[in-house]
Symmetry: C2
Subunit: 286 residues, 2 copies
Amino acid sequence: MKIIRSIKAMQAYSTSLRRKGRTIAVVPTMGCLHEGHLTLVDTAKKHADSVIVTIFVNPTQFGPKEDFSKYPRPLRRDMSLCRKRGADAVFTPSAEEMYGTGATTTWVEELRLSQGLCGKSRPIHFRGVTTVVAKLFNATLPDVAVFGKKDYQQAKIIQRMTRNLNFPVRIVLQETVREKDGLALSSRNSYLSQDEKDAALSIRRSLLSAKSAILKGEKSTARIRKSIVNGITSAGGRIDYVEIVGADSLEPLRKISGKTLIAVATFFGKTRLIDNIEIQNRFEKD
Amino acid sequence: MKIIRSIKAMQAYSTSLRRKGRTIAVVPTMGCLHEGHLTLVDTAKKHADSVIVTIFVNPTQFGPKEDFSKYPRPLRRDMSLCRKRGADAVFTPSAEEMYGTGATTTWVEELRLSQGLCGKSRPIHFRGVTTVVAKLFNATLPDVAVFGKKDYQQAKIIQRMTRNLNFPVRIVLQETVREKDGLALSSRNSYLSQDEKDAALSIRRSLLSAKSAILKGEKSTARIRKSIVNGITSAGGRIDYVEIVGADSLEPLRKISGKTLIAVATFFGKTRLIDNIEIQNRFEKD
């Protein structure tokens, strides 16, 4: 497995693969890899001849009070996991390599889908995400990029950005990978105490019971929201948001109709956890 | 010469060239081609095996009161000029093809170099330029892109954007092409009456005399500016701006030092004309 640290070397490697007619899939990550990421690698292998995993803790998507400096960076372990899972290359540039010594003055910004949900509580987050993903696409020159649905809003924004800017990249979305008890895998789970972890199961439990209510005919987003808020707060979680939105528009729904997404962001202790569930209206085909 | 109207077909054509090991240069234009554009094609041919000219009057870089609808679009003539000059392909998408039927919600924006000069009087202009150039890069997948120095600020912004976003594209800048009498070639010159054209020669004349004063040791940007303003207004021009800036930073200079750019934007009649001159400080080597 190749380990590549410079943009020029990354572009040269991808260009040489392309010259040989090989297709490339990229899996952008911030490292601290878990089974969710590694399943993205499996998916990537199904869609292209070569798989590049990028590992870069992107400073521009963290707010000033967020966990950039303490975000875990077990790089040697991550590389070993990528190798075992069959990645062809890991691209792991430094912040200087990605952003230069002077400030970056060019940003890629999606202005519609990024307004609600996490965009409200993390105002610069998605601008950082779209900018770094554009940069990673230009460094790795992929045919396919694979993202997980746990970061559902991020995935939709990247899909839109890719289409709007004509990037010749197909975006593949993958279902969230969970612990057996239902907790969505996240690098931030490592911040949780055992008690917090147990309490955080209320997220999935509340989302499943909301889905079941909707499939039984519940239409009131106010009632659904209230029951999710109750489920999570009574377990000791603090709500950042619980939103019920159109699964493509990400616009809040007043009544359930069409393909729906329920997205939640919560704090257990100091740790911010997000999760979501898609619900296909039972009168429409999946 | 290929004529290509869809993004998918453009990407497929460029990808097939690249598979054959051919390098690609792109010359982005809004059409209404003159000898300035065609010299860009000559330059492009020196830097790559295949040359693609894009012709697209980009709506997002025109302000609401600007000349988008009346901007000249002699497409058949333009294509014939490209063919004669030896372009391999013309990419001429519709606005629908480039921006879709819904609104584009993703923008590429450079926030430093785009603040002064034309950025002041045309607030959304450069955001439109950087966005469409990113889209054109992703459609044509070039190794090299050639821009003219007549649009000096635009060229510098695109250079910065290309580097900041890691586009694998080398930017080549070309000197401004002029009429024998010194008027910079521009598609907008076709709006000028003969009298306005004669009066507009005051732009180049004032810039040359400013350069000569600087080379003789003049350091006061206030005096230089005043003499240019006088030269242009006494010929009947109206000043949008006359700015004396660092040639790389585009930041206003109080005293001449280092490589300097004088940039002007003027109106003759209703027609907005821009021009500029670079001045290498005589104590530094060119």
